[in-house]
């Protein structure tokens, strides 16, 4: 299916791109990342315009987020409890819920691009728990812009080799996520009283 979709990019370009990012933000299995990378490649080849490809991808994602958020608001608790009957979804939703409680803006922002599988669930949770719309939208727009910018930009930069671009970007995101964990855990570890005591050579 991916090859067939890729072949439609030069013809239906921007609409196809926007539709794919829109649907992938509703947790539907559309290959948005590979399509954005390819669109970047087509932009480098002169078949698409770079800023338009970026705009279409981001706009689709932003619209998808809004639909998810308002679906969460509308159907709220009933919808969520139905979804939670599936254990795998329940786990994802519980993680999204926990993230939301602690730091909502960061959760919305990072679940757009760094941990994007959580994105659709964060939208539903945000809507159904009545998370503020202006904050949600601001963080969502920023996150989708980073998402679209990263993928379309990498496709542009790696013009003509989608596979290499996809692997390099996957590694880069893994690296960013890992480094974030190192900083957070390191801070937690070294600033804790027990950690401080251990480093001073005393008993923890």
């Amino acid at each position: 299916m991916t090859d067939w979709l890729l072949g439609l990019v030069p013809q239906y370009g921007l609409w196809l791109l926007a539709a794919t990012t829109f649907l992938s933000c509703l947790a539907l299995p559309f290959p948005a990342s590979i399509l954005m990378l390819t669109a970047g490649g087509f932009a480098a080849a002169g078949d698409l315009v770079l800023w338009q490809a970026f705009g279409a991808a981001a706009a689709g994602g932003i619209a998808g987020d809004q639909l998810g958020y308002w679906a969460g608001r509308g159907f709220g608790a009933t919808f969520l409890s139905k979804l939670r009957k599936d254990p795998a979804r329940d786990r994802l939703l519980a993680r999204a819920d926990a993230m939301m409680d602690r730091r909502g803006v960061m959760a919305v922002f990072l679940s757009r691009w760094l941990v994007s599988p959580l994105g659709p669930w964060v939208n539903l949770v945000a809507g159904s728990t009545g998370y503020g719309w202006p904050r949600f939208t601001a963080a969502g727009v920023a996150g989708e812009s980073v998402w679209a910018g990263l993928y379309v930009g990498t496709g542009y930069g790696f013009a003509g080799n989608v596979e290499a671009a996809s692997q390099a970007l996957g590694s880069a995101l893994g690296m960013i996520g890992g480094a974030g964990a190192v900083v957070a855990l390191g801070y937690w570890l070294f600033s804790s009283a027990q950690g401080q005591a251990a480093l001073r050579g005393g008993k923890g």
């Binding site: 072949g7 080799n161 390099a168 893994g174």
Partner: protein, 115 residues
């Protein structure tokens, strides 16, 4: 080192998680460098049906319009939007493999001429 063991005794899980995230980060960093180096030496992507002539040209560092001329393909302006190789093939009524072969031959000629 001694202090580190003391730290590990005091917070075994947290220290392990910290070390694990360091390893994961280094792994992805290494992979990233590997891909970047590989890409720098292998920029060319095999010609596929979903590609346009412009895309192939960009990937192989040649001029797309010269590929069109050599392989006898229509220029993009004919239909108002860039055409994929499979679209060109179905318009001409030939298998897409023929168009790919023609494009590959044209690319090979153009690259040989450049060197």
């Amino acid at each position: 080192m001694k202090r580190f063991f003391a730290l590990w005794r005091a917070r075994p899980w947290l220290t392990s998680a910290f070390l694990l995230s360091c390893v994961v980060t280094l792994f992805f960093a290494g992979r990233f460098v590997g891909h970047a180096v590989y890409w720098a030496n292998h920029q060319n992507e095999d010609v596929r049906p979903w590609m346009t002539v412009g895309y192939v040209a960009r990937s192989w560092g040649v001029d797309g319009r010269e590929i069109d001329a050599l392989a006898g393909l229509p220029v993009p302006e004919v239909k108002g939007h860039p055409q994929t190789l499979s679209e060109i093939a179905s318009d001409k009524g030939v298998p897409v493999a023929d168009v790919i072969a023609a494009v590959e031959a044209a690319v090979a000629t153009l690259r040989a001429a450049k060197e």
